[in-house]
């Protein structure tokens, strides 16, 4: 299977790229996905993880809102192991205009979003963490979605359908024949190995970095990088998503996801060159916590686990040379018709929520170019892992009396828990105790999910995402990776990189228990283990 020729090469391992590869693979194409880092490292992995109902866009962007609710309902069906059906509240606080509630619900209904005005008392009962001062509440079908899991499941499905994946591989240039792109030059960033791959169509699904990739291909796209900062809290304080019922603003969404909850976001235009080095400022932290505490006062007394920032891949409209007219919708550019460059398609804009639709649009464009006629089935075919409706059902089917760790594995992997090698006791040993990740789950990720670093492993399994931020599990997992890859020297470096990456998210909120944990981690690695 060491072919270098494919029907389509997809650049970018975010959710759009992974979704596009899956769709292409499902339509019978031979696919290759190339990602310069790991899957879900860009905007895909750096957002709230909100399964939008679309309500947030209903007033200002009814078209996006309608897209959202359609995709929302689809994801519940095809990605059940990545989705939590929590529902959401849009709350009105005393300082907000209650009249907006009606405008909001009307717009929601017009977009097809089930929005129901409920009594504030009921809201307080449904969601005990909500600011009790609320004067109004609307219930909407929001939820949460794990973007890492979703991305991995798309990639896995593409692989199961014959797709190939090259992670940590960057495109250094395009191979052209006359006015057509026919392939790419690549370089593996870990080994330094250079390889060429060929396909009649190349899809640019690189998000904000798509501007750079397009430039390599000699065409221009104007991206509009907007940084958004978010905070992760150390445990889940809310059951439902909590939003503010007003015009979208800073820090007005609190999303419960897995064992944590996330408040965000801010929005700051940044120069394109800064996209790779976004950092959260103390001012952003202050803003997020103070505004967040208005949604749920408990945030003001809950430990903060991490701060992180993403860059929204907004794209300037083609018809606006100033670059100020920003589209939040899906943008699919066929560079043949736009720029006279054959074999090159850019799919950008959009949102995590609409990735499947973006993939469908991009795949339609690819199929048109290749003359393939086959309908899209991604809206009805469950992703691997999502064949059951709930993790409870999965766990009960496999184990008579599942342990906490087995339940946690089922919640992460869905029906994929059957991929864990055996019922052997040695596979059940926990590597990560905070998130309850076992040896078996880690080995399964290494075997099936393209893991080459600890940080990759974290995105696949939640190793190191818990309260201790890798303090204990990182070196255990490094031992397993060293064994799997047979290279200790690389693993030693990887371990340092992982701890550095964890620290990057810790120091912006480095006080209280977070600072205690950081001090302890310093001891363990520097003085006890001798890293």
């Amino acid at each position: 299977m060491n072919t270098r020729e494919f029907d389509v090469i997809i650049l970018g391992g975010g959710i759009t790229g992974a979704g596009t590869q899956r769709d292409c693979a499902m339509r019978g194409l031979r696919t290759l996905l190339i990602e310069r880092s790991d899957i879900a490292t860009g905007a895909t992995g750096r957002n709230h993880g909100l399964l939008h109902s679309g309500a947030r866009y209903a007033v200002n962007d009814p078209e996006s809102a309608a897209e959202c609710i359609r995709e929302n309902l689809i994801l519940r069906r095809i990605a059940s192991h990545c989705v939590e059906e929590t529902d959401g509240l849009f709350i009105t606080l005393p300082e907000d205009d209650l009249a907006y509630q009606q405008t909001f619900t009307d717009a929601c209904r017009a977009a097809g979003i089930g929005a129901e005005i409920i009594d504030p008392d009921l809201a307080r009962r449904l969601e005990p963490s909500v600011n009790p001062a609320l004067t109004g509440a609307v219930r909407v079908p929001d939820g949460s979605v794990d973007p890492f899991r979703l991305c991995a499941a798309n990639m896995l499905d593409a692989k199961l359908r014959g797709g190939q994946v090259r992670l940590h591989t960057e495109v250094t240039g395009f191979i052209r024949e006359a006015d057509a792109i026919v392939g790419v030059h690549t370089r593996n960033r870990q080994t330094g190995a250079c390889e060429d791959f060929f396909a009649p169509v190349v899809v640019n699904a690189c998000g904000i970095w798509g501007q750079h990739i397009a430039a390599l291909a000699g065409v221009g796209i104007n991206m509009y990088p907007a940084k958004g900062a978010l905070l992760i809290f150390a445990h889940r304080i809310n059951r439902m998503v909590i939003n503010r019922c007003r015009k979208p603003s800073n820090a007005d969404i609190l999303v419960p996801g897995d064992t944590v909850c996330v408040i965000g976001t801010t929005s700051t235009r940044i120069p394109f060159e800064e996209c790779d080095h976004v950092a959260v400022t103390p001012e952003e932290v202050t803003l997020l916590v103070t505004e967040g505490a208005l949604l749920a006062p408990a945030l003001s007394s809950t430990r903060i686990l991490r701060a992180y920032a993403g860059v929204r891949p907004l794209v300037s409209s083609d018809d606006d040379p100033t670059g100020r007219n920003i589209s939040r919708g899906i943008v699919c550019l066929d560079h043949e018709s736009r720029d006279g460059l054959k074999g090159f398609v850019t799919i950008t804009g959009g949102k995590l929520m609409t990735y499947r639709l973006m993939a469908e649009i991009a795949t339609d464009a690819v199929c048109r170019k290749l003359g393939v006629e086959r309908a899209c089935e991604t809206a009805t075919t469950p992703l691997p892992g999502s064949e059951e409706r709930s993790y409870e059902a999965v766990a009960r089917k496999i184990w008579e009396a599942p342990s906490m760790a087995q339940k946690a594995a089922a919640a992460r992997m869905g029906t994929g828990v059957s991929r864990i090698r055996s019922g052997k006791r040695s596979d059940e040993a926990l590597i990560c105790e905070c998130e309850e990740v076992s040896v078996g789950e880690i080995n399964s990720a290494i075997d099936h999910l393209e893991v080459s670093t600890l940080t990759d492993l974290r995105r696949r399994t939640r190793v190191g995402m818990g309260t201790c931020q890798g303090e204990f599990c990182a070196c255990r997992a490094a031992g397993l990776l060293a064994r799997a890859h047979g290279c200790v020297e690389r693993e030693r470096e990887d371990l340092s990189d992982f701890l550095q990456e964890r620290w990057k998210g810790n120091f912006p909120i480095g006080w209280g228990d977070t600072l205690r944990e950081a001090e302890y981690t310093q001891w363990v690695y520097k003085h006890v283990l001798g890293l």
């Binding site: 064992t259 916590v289 007394s301 009396a401 339940k407 309850e436 006080w511 205690r516 302890y520």
Partner: protein
């Protein structure tokens, strides 16, 4: 809103640094691999349970609630509280008949006491033990606490007038054990306090503190008891200005700490007035009161700090009292669980574990070879006596024996 507010988490379990020190000191982990351990069952599990009660693990029932994890925790996390609270919140299995019987120490007591000689004889019989083992899963190797024919309450009630004559007064929460099994301890306390010029009153109809109900899944009954007990303690404290003294470390911990933390029964106004008698006596002596000791008294005493005394942090009072008795040759035993943990060790499924937990303590006692082991907990007494053959007495009883009136 000030940012200071979000500096220190109000969620105690978030102070867990995952350092695993609690697992070093958990006696159950050493012997029962089915127990997930205090860290997993406590702060780690809590994050998952907050996500979904589905993550509740029934293996949490193996927790002894000895609280040694809390004493060891460098971060001050109420680990055992978390575990017991989540059992109360999520455990939907109904307690077994056996557990209900073991937990209802007061009902057992009031039923057995009038027939004490018969009950003691019957529970001592091999055939009964075998039957209990087979039917109720109460381990046949266990010796049962003996029931006393005459309750302490009626004994003291008869002396109410005489006690009222003392210039100072305390109320005594004697607990089920003193009333039904060991009235002698209550009498010893009365002797010591009288020697200090303090008279002893009963509370207005005390009920079992409920500790065994909490660990056996009967938190509703326990809560009823808690409300009642706090009410009568309040009458004694606020109404009569009395201090309430106790002789059982487990009852004391329950009255002071488990009521508000696990059962949500507020006792803030009376908590500081509920004291172990050893502390009360020590403070009297520190304030200048004196006791006359028997000349020529000699006793080799090894003091075992019961788990709940360790959690209260008051072992120091028993130790100091015992050390100040002339003629006491004192050894402080290494602080370790004896394995019984209330009703835990009585259950057939826990017998082996229970004995294994206590083994190092028993070994140390044998090597010290004291005349008597001192200890503030009645269930430790049963366990140590049964397992080592050494006599175990409450420090108050040893003090009573040493003084002259």
């Amino acid at each position: 809103m000030k940012l200071q507010e979000y500096t220190v988490s109000k969620h105690n379990f978030e102070e867990c640094m995952k350092c695993t020190v609690c697992t070093v000191y958990c006696p159950v982990l050493q012997v029962n691999p089915l127990y997930p351990g205090p860290k997993q069952a406590g702060p780690d599990g809590e994050r998952l349970r907050l996500k979904d009660p589905f993550f509740f693990n029934y293996a949490l029932k193996y927790c002894l609630n000895c609280k040694r994890c809390e004493v060891a925790c460098p971060s001050g996390v109420g680990i055992a509280d978390l575990i017991q609270a989540s059992r109360i919140k999520y455990d939907r299995t109904r307690p077994k008949l056996r557990d209900r019987i073991l937990a209802s120490t007061d009902l057992m007591g009031s039923f057995s006491r009038p027939f004490a000689p018969v009950v003691n004889a019957v529970t001592g019989l091999g055939v009964t033990k075998t039957a209990l083992d087979a039917t109720l899963k109460i381990d046949h190797r266990r010796s049962f606490p003996k029931y006393s024919g005459r309750g302490f309450e009626s004994w003291l009630r008869k002396r109410a007038e005489e006690q009222a004559a003392f210039p100072e007064q305390v109320a005594y929460y004697h607990g089920c054990y003193v009333n039904y099994n060991n009235p002698a301890l209550g009498k010893d306390l009365v002797k010591v306090l009288n020697a200090l010029g303090v008279g002893v009153q009963l509370l207005e109809k005390e009920k079992c503190c409920g500790i065994a109900m909490i660990t056996n899944g009967m938190s509703e009954t326990a809560t009823r008891h808690a409300k009642h007990n706090v009410e009568i303690i309040r009458k004694a404290v606020a109404g009569k200005g009395l201090t309430v003294v106790t002789t059982s470390s487990s009852c004391t911990l329950t009255l002071r700490d488990e009521y508000p933390k696990l059962l949500g029964v507020d006792n803030a106004d009376v908590r500081e007035s509920v004291l172990m008698a050893v502390r009360y006596v020590f403070e009297r002596l520190e304030a200048g009161a004196t006791l006359r000791f028997k000349p020529g008294f000699h006793k080799k005493v090894a003091y075992h700090v019961p788990c709940h005394m360790e959690r209260l942090g008051w072992g120091v009072f028993s130790e100091r009292l015992l050390r100040m008795i002339p003629g006491v040759e004192f050894t402080l035993l290494d602080s370790a669980c004896c394995g019984i943990a209330g009703t835990y060790g009585f259950k057939k499924e826990n017998y082996e574990a229970s004995q294994a937990i206590g083994a190092p303590l028993f070994e140390q006692i044998r090597s010290v070879d004291p005349e008597v082991v001192a200890c503030d907990c009645e269930t430790c007494k049963w366990q140590i006596e049964m397992s080592t053959g050494y006599r175990v007495e409450n420090p108050i009883s040893i003090l009573a024996e040493a003084i002259e009136i």
